[in-house]
Symmetry: C2
Subunit: 209 residues, 2 copies
């Protein structure tokens, strides 16, 4: 009953290729070639290419969502109110975990998230499931309490800013490797840099009308 190997081999290969060339840019044949399984195995185990993508997305996003949720729970269980910096850490931090310096796999994971978020297809919206937006809503109310002077619109804008920085930050590095001698920042540094950057951004005073 338990999947022997083929299923995860397909998931691994699909994650690799989807991250590197996007959903539409990756053919089922390329996946099965890389996974060294038969072409029809995708249809057998997942039903269709889109459902395979959904499975890949779930596998990647699930631990991030879990870490975000746990982090927020921990902050809310305390007696003192969480600070903006703590909320940023709990929200953005997990997106950088699992992609430590030199971890090629981590870079791919990050790239895959970008692919999912940026994909213009409507199907892409159903890849990650509703858990993600639910967690986002919980963080929104937490941020709202920590930043009561912000309008809902501007707060929402800033939360999207966090997502943007967390998702896109590796694109440039990935796309033009070793371009102008910019040493690729390890995931280690990227994580703390992002927290600094985003905590300051979130704490900014509201924009005058």
């Amino acid at each position: 009953m338990a999947p022997p190997d083929t299923r995860t081999q397909i998931l691994d290969a699909a994650e690799h290729l989807f991250a590197e060339r996007g959903f539409r840019g990756t053919s089922v044949r390329a996946i099965t070639d890389l996974a060294k399984v038969n072409l029809a195995a995708v249809g057998y185990h997942f039903g269709s290419k889109a459902e395979l993508m959904a499975a890949v997305a779930r596998r990647v996003v699930a631990p991030i969502n879990a870490a975000q949720s746990a982090g927020l729970d921990r902050l809310l269980a305390r007696t003192s109110e969480p600070t903006v910096a703590e909320l940023v850490e709990a929200f953005a931090g997990p997106m950088f975990d699992g992609m430590r310096a030199g971890d090629e796999n981590g870079a791919r994971t990050s790239r895959l998230i970008v692919t999912i978020i940026c994909d213009p297809a409507k199907e892409a919206r159903s890849w990650t499931g509703p858990a993600e937006s639910e967690i986002r809503g919980r963080f929104q109310t937490a941020f709202q309490r920590a930043l009561p002077h912000l309008t809902e619109g501007e707060l929402w804008f800033r939360i999207r800013g966090i997502l943007a920085v967390a998702a896109v930050d590796r694109i440039e590095v990935y796309n033009q490797p070793g371009s102008a001698g910019h040493s690729t920042p390890g995931g280690e540094a990227a994580r703390s840099w992002a927290i600094t950057f985003l905590a300051a951004a979130m704490s900014a005073p509201p924009t005058p009308s």
Copy 2:
């Protein structure tokens, strides 16, 4: 010699569809159908689908690059050193211009830029040409002077953060329209919100080692 009409009709239709469905998600036939021109016109006027995309990208990015360059020139021509906020305004501001509130075309433009930046294909890197990275380099040295305490790596990370926010900020709005009653921010508000957000982020103290 001057292109009569077909050429720009194709460019308009291609800009529309590339922004909405991405490069790979848009077929040449869909473009020529929308433009109401013959299928072969793309090959005749542009050579290939990829070269058409490059033309579309150039047409969209050129005015942004020009505005960025002019803004930086204006700041550097003054006697006083430009502030971080001024540099952010000059760098990020033009990315939000031309997409004022209710301007459907502006939202598409923004969406197209995201498509270009996020596209995983290697060809996408040649779509905008070298002008963009050259301007980015000029801003980098200007930021370096305004933020002398930042390491080159962290500064580079923050500049990428600006690009991320400017590029991705409209994705969510575009993808789940009227999701949870979040009033879509007009381009007007988004522009000033982004400047506030990014100026604070850029001005953050350096991350401790």
